[in-house]
C-alpha cells in the first residue's frame, strides 16, 4: 500500500467501521451521552446571562452548536437528523435573524430610532438582576439561536458533501 496515500484513514475504517455513518468507538459514545446535555446547558447559560457576565449571544450560540457537532462526530449522521436536521436548523437560522430585525423595528415603532432600547426606557429595571437591561437579553437570545443553527448548518453541509475527481474535473457530491 502507498504509505503517503491515506494510511491512517484506511486503518480507522477497518477498526471502527465507517466513522461517518456508525460514529466513533463505544467509549466516545458513552462520554458523549454524559456530556452533551451539559455543554448545551452551558451554551444556554452564556446566552441568557450575556447582559450580566462575560459572553453573550455569539459565544453561547457557538458553544451550543458545539454540542450538536459533538453528537454528529460521535454518533454519525443518523442521530443528529432526529434532533435537529438540516431543514429544522435552516428554519431556526432564519427565525433568529428575523427576530433580531423585528426587535430593531419595534424600536422604531415605539421609541423613534432603530434598535432603541424601548423596554428599558419605558419600564426601567434594577441593575444586576436577571430581568434587567430591557431588550438586550431578547437580542442575545435571537443571536444565540441564529449563531447556533448557522454554525451547525455549515458543519452539517460540509460534512455531508465530498469533493471527488470525476473525469478530469472536481465535483461536489453528497456522501452515501
Amino acid at each position: 500500500m502507498d504509505k503517503k496515500n491515506g494510511s491512517r484513514n484506511l486503518q480507522d475504517e477497518t477498526r471502527y467501521g465507517n466513522p461517518e455513518i456508525n460514529g466513533m468507538s463505544e467509549i466516545v459514545k458513552n462520554v458523549c451521552i454524559w456530556v452533551e446535555g451539559f455543554i448545551f446547558l452551558f451554551g444556554c447559560y452564556i446566552v441568557l446571562f450575556g447582559h450580566l457576565t462575560p459572553g453573550g449571544g455569539f459565544a453561547g450560540g457557538v458553544i451550543a452548536a458545539g454540542s450538536f457537532i459533538l453528537i454528529t462526530l460521535a454518533f454519525g449522521r443518523g442521530r443528529i437528523e432526529k434532533i435537529i436536521g438540516r431543514r429544522k436548523s435552516s428554519i431556526l437560522d432564519s427565525l433568529g435573524a428575523l427576530m433580531f430585525l423585528f426587535i430593531g423595528w419595534a424600536g422604531i415603532y415605539t421609541g423613534g430610532v432603530f434598535f432603541s432600547n424601548f423596554i428599558q426606557k419605558k419600564f426601567g429595571s434594577m441593575p444586576f438582576r436577571f430581568l434587567s437591561a430591557g431588550n438586550i437579553p431578547l437580542i442575545n437570545i435571537a443571536i444565540g439561536i441564529k449563531v447556533m443553527s448557522a454554525i451547525f448548518l455549515v458543519f452539517f453541509v460540509l460534512s455531508i458533501t465530498r469533493v471527488v475527481l470525476r473525469g478530469d474535473k472536481l465535483e461536489m457530491v453528497r456522501k452515501k
Binding site: H51, A59, G124
Partner: protein, 179 residues
C-alpha cells in the same frame, strides 16, 4: 508587565504561523494554526477582555474540529514541491514595502493602553444607568452599536446561505437535465 507577556506570546504566535506555512503534512499545519488561535485568546485574557477571549477560544476549537475532520477524512496530503523563486521574491519585496510604510504609520498610533477616545469614558460612566446591563461590552454591542451587530449577523447569514446554496442536493440533478 502585560506588555512583556504579550510580546512573548506574539513571538510564539509568529513561530507557530511559520510552522503552519512550512509543515509538510496538512494535519500539522492545522494544529499549528490552532496554536496561533489559542495564544491569541490568552493574549485577550491578559488584556482583560474575557468576552473576546471566550469567543476566540470557542470558535478556535470548532474551527480546529472542522478542519481536522476535513483533512483526516480526505487522503493525507504532503507538500513536496519546491517553492518557486519568482513568487517568493515578489512576496519578500511586497512585505518590505509594507514594512517601510507601516513604520511611519505605527509611529503615529497612541501608546499601548493609552485611552484617547472620548466615547469610552462615556460608555463606562453612563452605560449602566442608560441600558441597565451590568456587562458594558454587551451594552455597547447590543444597544449603542446594535446596528453593527445586525451587519455581523447578516454576514453570518450570507455565509450560511452561500454554503447551503452551493452544496445543496439538487444541483446535480439540474445539471444533468440541462446537459
Amino acid at each position: 508587565m502585560t506588555e512583556t507577556f504579550i510580546t512573548i506570546f506574539l513571538v510564539f504566535m509568529i513561530l507557530a504561523a511559520v510552522v503552519a506555512l512550512e509543515a509538510r503534512e496538512l494535519l500539522s499545519t492545522v494544529i499549528a494554526v490552532g496554536a496561533v488561535g489559542f495564544m491569541l485568546s490568552v493574549i485577550f485574557l491578559f488584556l482583560r477582555a474575557p468576552d473576546i477571549a471566550i469567543v476566540q477560544i470557542v470558535v478556535e476549537i470548532l474551527t480546529l474540529v472542522i478542519l481536522v475532520r476535513a483533512t483526516i477524512s480526505r487522503d493525507t496530503h504532503f507538500f513536496e514541491d519546491e517553492r518557486e523563486f519568482f513568487p517568493f521574491a515578489i512576496n519578500i519585496v511586497m512585505i518590505m514595502v509594507f514594512l517601510i510604510f507601516a513604520f511611519w504609520a505605527v509611529k503615529t498610533l497612541p501608546r499601548f493602553g493609552l485611552n484617547f477616545s472620548k466615547v469610552a469614558p462615556y460608555y463606562l460612566t453612563k452605560g449602566l444607568a442608560q441600558t441597565g446591563a451590568a456587562n458594558i461590552v454587551t451594552s455597547v454591542i447590543l444597544d449603542y452599536r446594535a446596528y453593527d451587530t445586525l451587519g455581523e449577523a447578516t454576514v453570518l447569514f450570507t455565509a450560511v446561505l452561500g454554503a447551503v446554496a452551493l452544496l445543496r442536493r439538487k444541483a446535480k440533478a439540474a445539471e444533468n437535465k440541462n446537459g
